[in-house]
């Protein structure tokens, strides 16, 4: 889905919601920011540095990580292995260190392991029993949590979360929302795509609304809820769906 003429700014330390009817281009925005798709025009900056045009891995290295709408994990791996891959940027990369297991390599692997375990705990996935489980056999909620933990494990300062609440029960949603707030309190910036309006309005500091690839509104949740263009877009969409 195409996105055009979009200009938006994410404030550090905030939870920024990105909403819009189906097909509004939310996921495309994520793909563009994370570098999975390349821009045909325009620029994206992070912390004053241009990141558009970089490889996704390079964008991640600058501190931007993401999750995917359909929960994406390394399916054949255990929970711990998934996190170890995610901690890649903190590890010693390349052939020689792996081959000769230099002290630095070992130290970094130990640190990666420790931080992976810490991330697991913070998302309620702690315990050695969990770490060794194959992710295929994990409940949906834990898979979602793991994908967020992996984005965090990269050491990102900005994480893009694509529908972190989808498919969760009411109680699980509450837990996740709590976890996201705690993350913000630790100084993390979050850009969030979510369909659950109540959750978005309750959680976000700022909300941007997209429709057909164009920004139609931006502001605090309260402002957004009262914006006629937004109501129009959503009502139209609801009508169409019904």
């Amino acid at each position: 889905m195409a996105v055009s003429d979009l200009s938006m700014m994410v404030t550090p330390g905030a939870i920024h919601g990105l909403i819009g009817p189906n097909g509004a281009g939310k996921s495309t925005v994520f793909n563009l920011i994370s570098g999975v798709l390349s821009l045909s025009a325009g620029e994206i900056f992070f912390k004053g540095e241009r990141i558009s045009g970089l490889r996704p891995s390079e964008i991640c290295r600058r501190g931007v990580a993401r999750t995917f709408q359909a929960t994406t994990l390394f399916r054949e791996f255990t929970v711990l292995q998934n996190l170890l891959v995610a901690a890649h940027l903190r590890a010693a990369d390349g052939l020689a260190p792996a081959l000769f297991a230099s002290p630095a390599y070992r130290r970094k692997e130990r640190e990666a392991l420790a931080s992976a375990q810490e991330n697991l705990t913070s998302l309620g996935l702690g315990g050695t029993a969990q770490a060794g489980r194959s992710v295929e056999k994990l409940p949906h909620r834990d898979q979602k949590a793991l994908s967020i933990a992996m984005a965090l494990a990269t050491g990102a300062e900005l994480v893009l979360l694509d529908e972190p609440l989808a498919g969760l029960t009411a109680q699980e949603r509450e837990e996740t929302l709590g976890a996201l707030r705690r993350l913000r309190d630790r100084g993390l910036t979050i850009l969030l795509v979510e369909h659950d309006m109540k959750a978005v309005m309750g959680l976000c500091d700022v909300v941007t609304v997209l429709d057909h690839g164009v920004r139609i509104a931006e502001g605090t949740p309260r402002e957004i809820q009262e914006n006629p263009a937004v109501i129009e877009a959503y009502l139209g969409a609801e009508d169409a769906r019904a």
């Binding site: 994370s34 570098g35 999975v36 490889r55 996704p56 891995s57 390079e58 991640c60 290295r61 990580a65 993401r66 995917f68 994406t72 994990l73 390394f74 399916r75 054949e76 791996f77 255990t78 711990l80 292995q81 170890l84 891959v85 995610a86 890649h88 940027l89 590890a91 010693a92 990369d93 390349g94 052939l95 792996a98 081959l99 297991a101 390599y105 070992r106 692997e109 392991l113 060794g132 489980r133 194959s134 056999k137 992996m150 984005a151 494990a153 990269t154």
Partner: protein, 337 residues
């Protein structure tokens, strides 16, 4: 920290490989047995390094071409340049690796079936060049003959010669154990872990900060280096070279060995290469029917054991335990000591 179960398995596996290959001449010194065993060891270097590439999700149909580059490089350097085998052997690997950088760099811009087909196109170009161009160097369609055996090696005052089959066998054995040490080490390190992750989801890996292209290229170049070394051994042990040694047919056999063994484990190609080579030596008795039987065996093996021969013990085990909760541990736990 005590070694993880995965690492212990790696050490046991390597120990078995080393004991088996080093001990074989104690069991038989029959020229034919030693010859087949040498071929197996050489093919193991090729299939294990091919599996390194496959484990990052790419089937490189030009793998055999790098063996060819190594073989011709070493031969020409020795026969024209007069260099010792102990130099040309390593130059062969380096030459293969050097060519792997541009070829891999171009081929890795595409993926999936396109990668498969573009590497096939590269391999055909290389074979056609060996066969038809620069005939004064590559020997043209007649190939190269009377390639000298490896030079004697003076090691700690002892003169080692490489004329007899058993001596050549031990040389190949040393090369294999070196290559296998590197490959097994990598498989159980972060490199193997990340490579495997790339195979499962390259976009996810990339967004988690893995420079996927560089990983794939590293695997490609390292794999090609090993293929080049194997090629040099091939040239000086067979003593004749022909472009058809590096064509689609032997390449296809390497893939067959690797996949029938199982690409999920570093030991898959070992099992596949050993079992299939021995089986096909028995199948020679079928003369007219050999290929027919071989083909049928491949079809049945793949349909019955989609994960390769390496999955057979696990399958049997599960049958015995009636599907008890023993969760198969994913390979290469990834944490090195």
């Amino acid at each position: 920290m005590p070694p993880s179960p995965a690492l212990r398995r790696a050490l046991i596996g390597y120990g078995l490989l080393a004991a088996g290959s080093l001990g074989l001449p104690l069991v038989t010194r029959d020229s034919y047995h030693v010859d087949v065993a040498t071929t197996i060891l050489m093919n193991l270097v090729l299939t294990m390094s091919l599996r390194l590439e496959i484990s990052t999700g790419q089937l490189n149909m030009a793998h055999i071409s790098f063996m060819g580059i190594g073989a011709y490089a070493s031969t020409i350097l020795m026969m024209r340049g007069g260099y010792s085998f102990w130099i040309t052997l390593w130059v062969a690997g380096v030459m293969a690796a050097v060519w792997a950088v541009p070829i891999g760099g171009l081929a890795l811009r595409v993926s999936g079936p396109y990668y498969f087909l573009i590497t096939f196109a590269f391999s055909e170009v290389v074979r056609l060049i060996f066969n038809n161009f620069f005939a004064e160097w590559f020997g043209g369609p007649s190939g190269l003959v009377q390639i000298p055996k490896p030079d004697p090696l003076r090691l700690a005052g002892v003169q080692l010669t490489f004329v007899g089959k058993v001596e050549l066998y031990y040389l190949m054995c040393a090369l294999l154990l070196l290559a296998a040490a590197v490959l097994v080490r990598l498989d159980y390190s972060r490199f193997g872990l990340v490579g495997n992750a790339i195979r499962q989801g390259d976009v996810l890996a990339e967004t988690l900060g893995v420079w996927v292209f560089r990983y794939k290229l590293t695997a490609f170049v390292l794999g090609s280096f090993m293929a080049g070394i194997a090629g040099a051994f091939f040239a000086h042990s067979h003593q004749v070279l022909h472009s058809s040694d590096f064509s689609l047919e032997p390449m296809v056999l390497l893939v067959v060995f690797t996949v029938i063994g199982g690409t999920g484990s570093v030991w898959g190609p070992v099992v596949g290469t050993v079992v299939l080579t021995i089986a096909s030596e028995f199948m020679r008795e079928f003369h007219y029917y050999e290929i027919l039987v071989y083909g049928a065996v491949l079809i049945l093996t793949m349909l019955l054991l989609p994960e390769g021969l390496i999955s057979l013990p696990g399958k049997l085990g599960r049958l015995v335990r009636r599907g008890g909760g023993g969760e198969a541990e994913a390979m290469g736990a990834g944490v090195a000591p």
